[in-house]
């Protein structure tokens, strides 16, 4: 066994220690990098180069490969939990905005304005001759109609806000799709070369996780190490080295409950004109669910209420006689187009708007004290005219409010639960892949000692060589 070999053994030790120290440094510097998995250098003892009789003497060390410490199954769980949380968080935001529209726990709102509206007719019934009361009937009706329109408008704004978020997320999903495609290519190249592209794998996992938080995806690895990403229920977004695009465009309302002129989605590769209704889960799924289900339902019920009030009040009012003795005058402007968008069109009729004496309080002409129509109108408040004769208008509106409350509360509960799950999984992931500074510092010291000792091996070999060279002198 030659002395230079001993030197070489020392050298491999120093090299390996250096690799380890570098990797430790890499871990420490990336300890707060999102999606990073700590890396470990796997060292291998070199096989002896030559034999001395029957004795095999080792030949140092080789840092064989650097691996990331990562549990693929756990990553998947983290991804799914993140997807659910993102979904619930987006819904929470949109529902919170919706709830604020209906929140009259603190003061005025449609509920109060509606009871005011009916009570004005009770006041009118007390004194049908009184012009001042007629004025206040008109004013309270205008406030109520205004509030219907306000609610409708604000729901529309929530809807538009959702659209702008959908647009942003669709763009982000496309970015991520491209990132995954690019990473696929680079990972394949490196793996073909027999390398472990740890950091690229981490980055691809992270991109996948982010993509999953936007839309529900499934992914699997092919033989070359590239992942295929499919949007669940829709089709592929990334296949190996090719990425499809999520396209968004404005469209007229569809039967799926999407509002007029709202944002729709489709993929560049799919044949169907729109995939909006198939997108589930993640941020996009959450936003679409609120926009096309919750808000549409709420709006539909608001329209029904507005139409119900307009229609039932008019039916009775037309039977009455105005101060001037006219019969058949509408109180509200009749809504021609039916229930749809009624809450936008609800308004006083032009006649009543121009002159409060066109309000009909009595059932007979020339009977200024006749209050029967006014009584009948105020009586509408207690009649079960909504929801197929099962709810009064008050009930109906209150049920909208409480339903929005229920949606919001249930969603928030799920969100908090989901947050706990994400936290728990995050801890688990950290337990496996996270960087512990204390641990790395300890490693650093250990590898430094290895480095020092390996250097010492070379020094000893050198001295031994010197001893040999000085034998001849």
């Amino acid at each position: 066994m030659a002395l230079p070999n001993v030197m070489n053994t020392g050298r491999t030790g120093m090299m390996a220690a250096k690799a380890n120290i570098t990797t430790t440094g890499h871990n420490i510097t990336n300890s707060t990098t999102e999606g990073f998995s700590r890396q470990r250098v796997h060292n291998e003892a070199n096989a002896p180069r030559s034999s001395h009789g029957k004795n095999l003497i080792g030949d140092g060390v080789t840092p064989k490969r650097t691996m990331r410490v990562n549990d693929e199954y756990l990553e998947k769980q983290v991804r799914n939990a993140g997807r659910d949380l993102a979904n619930l968080e987006e819904k929470d935001m949109a529902l919170k905005q919706t709830e604020d529209i209906f929140n009259e726990m603190g003061g005025e709102g449609l509920n109060r304005l509606m009871s005011k509206f009916f009570n004005e007719f009770r006041k009118l019934a007390n004194e049908p001759e009184n012009e001042a009361i007629r004025q206040s009937v008109r004013e309270s009706t205008l406030s109520m109609a205004n509030d219907f329109r306000r609610i409708r408008k604000e729901i529309g704004e929530v809807s538009r806000h959702i659209d702008s978020r959908i647009e942003g997320y669709a763009k982000e999903a496309n970015d991520l799709g491209e990132q995954i495609r690019d990473l696929n290519l680079r990972i394949k190249q490196q793996e073909v070369g027999g390398l472990n592209p740890n950091d690229l794998l981490d980055r691809r996992d992270l991109a996948l996780k982010k993509l999953a938080s936007i839309v529900d995806v499934t992914s699997f690895k092919d033989k070359e190490g590239m992942v295929t990403v499919e949007i669940r229920g829709v089709g592929p977004l990334v296949v190996g080295a090719a990425a499809e695009k999520l396209e968004y465009f404005r469209a007229q309302g569809t039967e799926d409950g999407a509002p007029e002129n709202s944002l729709q989605l489709r993929t560049s590769g799919s044949v169907s004109p729109t995939i909006t209704a198939s997108v589930k889960g993640g941020k996009l799924g959450g936003l679409l669910e609120v926009r096309d289900r919750t808000l549409s339902t709420v709006l539909g019920r608001l329209d029904e209420l507005a139409y119900g009030i307009t229609d039932s009040v008019n039916q009775i009012h037309r039977q009455g006689f105005t101060r001037e003795g006219f019969q058949g005058v509408d109180f509200f402007k009749p809504i021609e187009g039916g229930v749809e968008r009624a809450s936008e069109f609800i308004d006083l009729s032009d006649a009543v708007k121009s002159n409060v004496n066109f309000i009909a309080a009595g059932a007979e002409p020339d009977a200024p004290g006749d209050n029967r129509i006014a009584i009948a109108l105020s009586g509408l408040q207690g009649m079960k005219l909504m929801n197929g004769g099962n709810a009064t208008m008050d009930d109906y509106f209150n049920s909208i409010v409480s339903d929005v409350g229920v949606f919001t509360a249930r969603n928030r509960e799920n969100m908090n639960q989901s947050k706990d799950i994400v936290n728990q999984l995050g801890k688990l992931r950290d337990q496996i892949s996270g960087v512990s500074i204390d641990e790395e510092t300890t490693n650093l010291l250990q590898y430094q000692q290895v480095y020092d000792a390996s250097a010492k091996v070379i020094q000893v070999a050198d001295e031994m060589l010197k001893t040999v060279l000085e034998l001849k002198r």
């Binding site: 300890s31 707060t32 529902l95 009259e104 726990m105 603190g106 509920n111 109060r112 009871s115 005011k116 009570n119 009770r122 006041k123 019934a125 007390n126 001759e129 039932s312 039916q315 009775i316 039977q319 059932a363 007979e364 009977a367 200024p368 004290g369 006749d370 209050n371 029967r372 129509i373 009584i375 009948a376 105020s378 009586g379 408040q381 207690g382 009649m383 079960k384 005219l385 008050d394 009930d395 209150n398 049920s399 409010v401 409480s402 929005v404 409350g405 229920v406 919001t408 509360a409 936290n423 801890k427 950290d430 337990q431 996270g434 960087v435 500074i437 204390d438 510092t441 300890t442 010291l445």
Partner: protein, 339 residues
């Protein structure tokens, strides 16, 4: 278990976030004095609160209505009483002048003047107003119900007032009922549509010709009426004419009819009185309901301040200990010990 710095820091962040969140909620409750600040805080309670707020607004209106009806009824009652007194006085005059022994042309002329006064007085009582409204004209509230010749110009309209949900009370007595013993055979008013309120049932919103009797009223105390209608003003006139012409037979014949008129007025007063009793009962019920409602609403939406303040103190303590333990957790690393 491997615990990394990330886990540590995340735990610190999370515990601070949670405590802050709870403190913020408590702080909001303390500043609004309400535990129900958004429907999602308790959706069922929120709907209930809205419902009882509507009830409160309606009940307040019903109480106003009841007050108004009460004032109408009281005024009607007084007027009817005064008319009854006039009938008594007219009957006294008729008794006094009905026999030749006590009645001479002179005395008759003298009291005829008084009867004329009684007539005018009766007309002015019949035309009594509350505010701008005539009491006895039915729906014709803006014109005098009785003209100077004693003819009724009002209608049969009964002014319904809603004094509780779906409980209606007639707040007026029409001149037709008050001044005639048999109003239905009076020729003063053409037969009109019935007074049934409009649209009491869902789907039944056309003018109903049925007499749906939803008003609160006492038993009809009017005695079985005689075949012929007697009108108070006509009777005063015929007494006056009898006095002027010395028609003793005619004067005597008014006696019985003044009795009938008096009985009619008294029974109308009784009717008004029983309506007022009903009104009082309803008002008491509504006030009680308002109280119960207020208690319910308060229990649903008001924060228990003692609890809130207690919880806040507790949360603050939790927050402090979270911070101090965080400090211990975050500070030392191995780096502090290898030098």
């Amino acid at each position: 278990m491997r615990v990394t710095q990330n886990t540590n820091f995340e735990a610190v962040r999370e515990s601070i976030r949670r405590t802050k969140d709870r403190m913020e909620k408590l702080q909001f409750q303390a500043s609004t004095l309400k535990k129900l600040n958004a429907p999602s805080d308790n959706p069922v309670a929120a709907a209930k609160v809205l419902e009882s707020r509507t009830d409160k607004v309606n009940n307040d209106q019903f109480l106003m209505n009841a007050k108004l009806a009460e004032s109408h009824l009281t005024n009607s009652d007084h007027a009817l009483g005064e008319l009854a007194d006039i009938m008594v006085r007219a009957k006294e005059i008729a008794i006094g002048q009905s026999s030749g022994a006590s009645s001479t042309d002179d005395t008759r002329l003298g009291v005829a003047e008084e009867v004329a006064q009684l007539f005018n007085q009766a007309v002015s009582i019949a035309n009594r107003r509350v505010g701008d409204r005539y009491l006895f004209g039915g729906f014709k509230t803006d014109t005098p119900p009785v003209d100077e010749s004693g003819r009724y110009r009002g209608d049969r309209g009964s002014l319904m007032v809603e004094i509780a949900k779906d409980v209606f009370l007639t707040s007026n007595v029409t001149g037709l009922e008050a001044f005639n013993t048999k109003p239905e055979s009076s020729t003063d008013v053409q037969l009109q549509k019935s007074n049934a309120p409009y649209g009491n049932k869902a789907g039944d919103r056309v003018p109903a010709n049925t007499t749906a009797d939803v008003e609160l009223q006492g038993p009809d105390a009017v005695p079985p009426t005689q075949s012929e209608n007697v009108n108070a003003f006509d009777e005063l006139q015929s007494l006056r004419i009898g006095l002027l012409t010395g028609d003793l037979e005619g004067i005597r014949s008014t006696l019985e009819r003044f009795d009938q008129l008096h009985a009619r007025l008294i029974s109308n007063r009784a009717k008004v009185g029983s309506r007022m009793t009903g009104l009082q009962t309803t008002v008491t019920a509504i006030e009680r309901q308002n109280l119960t409602n207020a208690q319910l609403t308060s229990s649903l939406e008001d924060a228990d301040m003692a609890q809130v303040v207690g919880d806040m103190a507790k949360e603050e303590q939790v927050f402090r200990s979270a911070l101090s333990s965080s400090q211990k957790l975050m500070q030392p690393t191995l780096m502090d010990f290898i030098k």
